[in-house]
C-alpha cells in the first residue's frame, strides 16, 4: 500500500492512444484503403454498405455485452438468446403471419424476461456471471430447440425483409443501420451521461464502494443483464429480417457470445470492468466485418479467417492491457 500511496499521479488527460475510437477508425480506413488498392471493388458504395450491414447484428449484441462487461460481468447467453429471438419471431412470422411490430414486442419481451433471469441468478443467488450464463446458455439453446421442434425459418414476410434490408421511407440507409445508430446513441448516452450508466460503471469499478454510496447494486445488475438480453434479442430480430433465415444454431453456431466479447474488448472496454467504450464496440465490430470481407477480396483461403479474428483479439487486447497495468 505504501507503493500506492506514493505512486506519482499519472497524467489524467487521455493521450491519442487512449482514444480507441480514433485508432479503430484509422486502422479500419487504412485496411479498407489497402484492400481497395489491390481490389478496387472493395471500395464501391455497394460493398461498403454490406460491410456495414454485416456488422449490425454483432454490434447490437455486443453493445449489450459492453454494458455487462462494464459492470464487471460477462454474458455468454447472448448467443442462444439471439437465436431464440430469431427463431421465435421468424417462425411466428412464417407460420402465423405475425406482423412486424408484434415481432418487435415478442423479441423485446423474450430478451427482458430471460435477461432478467440471468440478472437474478447473478445478483440474488450470487452465482458468478460466467457460470450463470454458461448454464443459461444451455437452457436458452434448449428453449430454441423445443420451440422450433427442429424446423427452420427460411422465408420471412416482405415487411420483415424490407425492414432488414431497405431504408425506411425510401431513405438510402438500411433500417438495421438506423436501428444500430439509435441503440448506439442510447447506450452512449446511458453509459456516458445518465445516472443509470454511471452507476453501472461505478458497480464495475468497485461493487462494494458502489453499494456503500447508496447504489442499489443488485437492482443495477439485474437491469444490465436484462438490457443485455434485450439487445441480444433485438439483434436476433434484425438477424432474421436481414438474412431471412434462422436455425436452431443461429447465434451459437457462429459463436456470437465469443465474438461479442471480442469486439467489446477490442473496442476498448476493460475486461475488469469500470470502463466502457460504446463507440469503440461498434467500430470494432465494423473493423471485424471489414477485415473478414477484405480477406475474401484478397483471396485468402477461408480456413484462415478465424485465425485472423484470433490475432485481432490478442493484438487489440494487448494494446489495452498495457495501459491498464498501472492499476493496482
Amino acid at each position: 500500500m505504501s507503493a500506492a500511496a506514493a505512486r506519482p499521479a499519472a497524467d489524467p488527460r487521455p493521450g491519442w492512444r487512449d482514444r480507441r475510437e480514433l485508432v479503430l477508425v484509422a486502422v479500419t480506413a487504412a485496411s479498407a484503403g489497402a484492400v481497395g488498392i489491390v481490389n478496387p471493388g472493395f471500395l464501391t458504395v455497394e460493398n461498403l454498405r454490406f460491410v456495414a450491414l454485416n456488422s449490425v447484428v454483432l454490434s447490437i449484441v455486443a453493445l449489450g455485452q459492453t454494458l455487462v462487461i462494464a459492470m464487471r460481468g460477462i454474458d455468454l447467453s447472448v448467443a442462444p438468446l439471439m437465436g431464440l429471438s430469431a427463431m421465435v419471431c421468424g417462425l411466428l412470422a412464417q407460420t402465423h403471419g405475425l406482423p412486424l411490430w408484434g415481432a418487435v414486442g415478442v423479441a423485446l419481451a423474450i430478451g427482458l424476461a430471460l435477461g432478467t433471469l440471468n440478472g437474478v441468478l447473478v445478483a440474488a443467488l450470487n452465482i458468478p456471471p460466467i457460470i450463470t450464463t454458461l448454464g443459461t446458455y444451455s437452457l436458452f439453446g434448449g428453449l430454441t430447440f423445443l420451440y422450433s421442434d427442429g424446423t427452420q425459418v427460411d422465408q420471412v414476410p416482405p415487411a420483415y425483409a424490407a425492414f432488414g434490408n431497405a431504408g425506411p421511407l425510401g431513405l438510402p440507409v438500411p433500417t438495421p443501420v438506423l436501428v444500430l445508430l439509435l441503440v448506439t446513441a442510447a447506450c452512449w448516452f446511458a453509459l456516458g451521461h445518465s445516472r443509470f450508466g454511471r452507476a453501472v460503471l461505478a458497480v464495475g469499478n468497485n461493487a462494494a464502494a458502489a453499494y456503500n454510496a447508496g447504489l442499489r447494486v443488485a437492482v443495477i445488475r439485474i437491469q444490465v443483464y436484462a438490457l443485455s438480453g434485450l439487445l441480444a434479442c433485438l439483434g436476433g430480430l434484425v438477424f432474421v429480417c436481414y438474412t431471412g433465415s434462422a436455425t436452431v444454431t443461429t447465434g451459437t453456431g457462429d459463436h456470437v457470445e465469443l465474438q461479442s466479447i471480442a469486439v467489446a474488448l477490442v473496442g476498448g472496454t476493460l475486461i475488469a470492468g469500470g470502463r466502457a467504450n460504446v463507440l469503440g464496440t461498434v467500430l470494432a465490430s465494423l473493423f471485424l466485418s471489414t477485415v473478414l470481407t477484405a480477406l475474401v477480396f484478397l483471396q485468402v483461403p477461408p480456413i484462415w479467417y478465424s485465425a485472423g479474428e484470433g490475432l485481432m483479439i490478442l493484438v487489440a487486447v494487448r494494446g489495452g492491457t498495457r495501459r491498464a497495468a498501472g492499476r493496482a
Binding site: 448454464g135 446458455y137 423445443l146 466479447i261 475486461i271 484470433g310
Partner: protein, 358 residues
Amino acid sequence: MDMRAPAAADAATPRDGRRLPVGGWELALTALLVAVVAGFGAAAPGFYAGPASLLGLTENFLPFGLVALGLSLVILTGGIDLSVGAVASLSAVLAAQLWSRFGVDIWAASALGVAIGALLGLLNAAVILRLGIEPLIATLGTSFLYGSAAVAAAGAAPPSGFPASFTAVGTGTLGSLGPLAGLVPIQLALFAALAVLFSALVARSPFGRVLVMVGYSPDAARYSGIRTGRVLATAYAVSGAMASLAGLVLASYYDAVRPDMGDVLLLTAITMVVLGGISIFGGEGTVAGVVVSVLVLGFLRQGMLIAGFSDMVTTMLTGAILLASIAAKNLFNRRGTGLANQIWATIRRPEPPRANPN
C-alpha cells in the same frame, strides 16, 4: 528455543483435510451419481444391460472427463482455458497426419500429439504471462488460431481408418487381462488411472500444493518463493496435454479425425469442473469432486439419450443442474454471505476459536 530441532508429532495427531480429499460436496455428488445410475437403470430400458454395457457407456463421455481433469488444474489457479477444444482437434489432426502422410508409427504420432498439446498449452501460458492478457481473452484468441490451424492441417480429406490396436483405446476393453477385466473399457482404465494421478497430484504433491496456493493468492505464493509463472505454465501445459489426449481418444473412438471434433468438449468440460466443486476464482475444490461430476453428467446424458430425450433437452438439464448446484453451494458455503449460510454456520460450527489474551 531452537526452531529447527525435529519435534515429535503432536500426541493428538490432527486430521488433515487434504489427505482424504472428500468433503460434503463430493459426498453430495456421489449420492447424485448413485441416484442417476439407479434411476435410469430402473426407468430407462437399455440403460442397464449388464455390468459390461453399463461400464461401456462411459466410453461415450470419458474424453470430456480427460479434458476436465486437465482443465481442473487451470481453474484451480484461478484461470481458464477456452482453447481446450481447439487444442484437442489440432493435436489429434496433426498426429493423424503424421501417421497417414509421413508414415510415423501411430503410437509415436500419438505421443507427439500429446507433446504438441502441451506445447500449445505453453503457448497459452506465454500469451498470458508474457503479454499480460487475461486467461479468458488469451485462450479465446488462441482458440481461434488453433482452430484455423486444425482446419488447415486437416485438409479436404482428414485421415481415418487407424490400426485396430489404436482404435481399441476408444472402444476396446481390457479383455486380454482376464475375464473380469473384459468388463472394463480401456478408456475407463485410462481415466481412472489419470483421475488417481491428478487427485494425488493436487492433494498431496508439492506441485499441487503450490498450484492451490497460486490459485488462492498469487501474491502470497510469489512472496513464498514460488515461481508462479512456472506453476501457471505447467498447469496450462498439462491442460493442453490432457486436451490432446482427449482428442486422440476421440480419434480412436471415431476411427477418424476432424478439425472441429474438439469443439463440443469445452462447455461440457467447464461444467464438469465447476459442478465438481472447483471454484472459478481458484484455490478451492478437489479432483475427486470433478471425477464424480464427470460420471454424474456423463451417465445423466447417456441415460437421458437412452430414455429417448433429445440431445438438447439433455443439455438443458445439464445447465439447470449446474445453476441449481452452484446456487445451493453458495447458500451453504462457509465463505458465502447468504442467509442460509449464516444459519448453517451456527448449526454446524462451534464458536471459532478467538485468541484473546487472558
